[in-house]
Amino acid sequence: MKRAGHCCVFAFLVAASLFAGSARSAQDKKPQKISASAIQILLFQSDEVKLPAEFQMALYEHVIEELQKAGKFEHVYRDGDHAAANTKDLITLRSNVTGFKQGSERARQVTTVAGATSITIHCQFVDKSGKVQLERDITGKVRFFGGNLRATYDFAKKVAKEVQESF
């Protein structure tokens, strides 16, 4: 009986060490960070989904602001900025709105559970040669407090977080 107990403890220790080893190797295999000194944000496209103009502009302005705050790039260029053409390691953020559900602030405040606003956007970080360096579907939401445009701020925060992790 005592021997069986020792065997169990030994098996547990072996399993734990194997798990820790695999976790460590997974950490070692973290994808390499992308190197770029500048980023250009293009205006958000919404080919499939009808997005109100204020949402489109709020997304664009919030993303620029959050990326400037993140401080990962020396320059954050706007769409159409002539200076971006002279930057060598420029990354361009191309975004296409794939989902949009406009909720209701009134419904959120009255019911707490209904009326959420969400925007899903397919984001591509493309280098100067046109190669896609990073591709993500990011969703911005507002569930409880704030107006519908707050979903654009939530989206911008998530883009900045993604940039912090990948660049």
Binding site: L43, P52, A53, E54, F55, Q56, M57, A58, Y60, E61, H62, Y77, R78, D79, G80, D81, H82, A83, Q102, E105, R106, Q109, V110, F145, G147, N148, L149
Partner: protein, 179 residues
């Protein structure tokens, strides 16, 4: 006709002419548009987000003034003007948030009271060609007037004002979209 009869006639004619000039409104002179209680949601440089002030258009410049801060924008740099409508809580801001803590669901009840507002979204370019966007909210019926004035001063739009909307009263303007 004697001089005695001519003088009063000329006097009456002069008074009538003067009153016509003074009483008639200057039909073709452009009045500067100013919209108080406008909230700049975001987008103008030098002014904080969600600041309330006066939006005015005069001599080819869009100006937003909130307290001591102000932002000027040449109207010719605006390449899109879009209006819309929305609503906001009747009791907003910090006090509005505090009412959410009211007992017996009174905060939720107060949330039902909302006021309609107009939204105005503009796209403009800076000197280096960079695209900017600005969003304003203003009292209902004002956005269409501002748009008309901006277009008259040289701004562009992707959604032109419909002829029917031009003749309408400003209180019930035709909206392009309902977000």
């Amino acid at each position: 006709m004697s001089m005695r009869r001519l003088v009063p006639t000329l006097f009456v004619a002069a008074v009538a002419l003067l009153s016509v000039v003074l009483l008639c409104p200057p039909g073709f002179a452009q009045q500067p548009v100013a919209v108080p209680d406008t909230k700049q949601v975001l987008g103008l440089e030098g002014v904080k987000h969600n600041s309330t002030g006066t939006l005015s258009i005069e001599k080819g410049t869009l100006q937003f003034k909130a307290g001591k801060k102000k932002a000027d924008l040449p109207v010719t740099s605006i390449n899109d003007v879009i209006t819309g409508n929305d609503s906001q809580r009747a009791i907003g801001g910090f006090i509005g948030t505090l009412t959410m803590l009211g007992p017996y669901g009174s905060g939720r009840f107060l949330s039902l009271f909302r006021t309609k507002i107009d939204t105005l979204t503009i796209q403009y370019h800076d000197a280096s060609g960079g695209l900017h966007g600005a969003i304003f909210t203003m009292p209902v019926g004002k956005a269409e007037d501002v748009k008309k004035e901006l277009l008259a001063e040289g701004a562009k739009t992707t959604i032109p004002i419909e002829p029917a909307a031009i003749g309408q009263a400003p209180a019930s303007p035709k909206k392009e979209q309902k977000p």
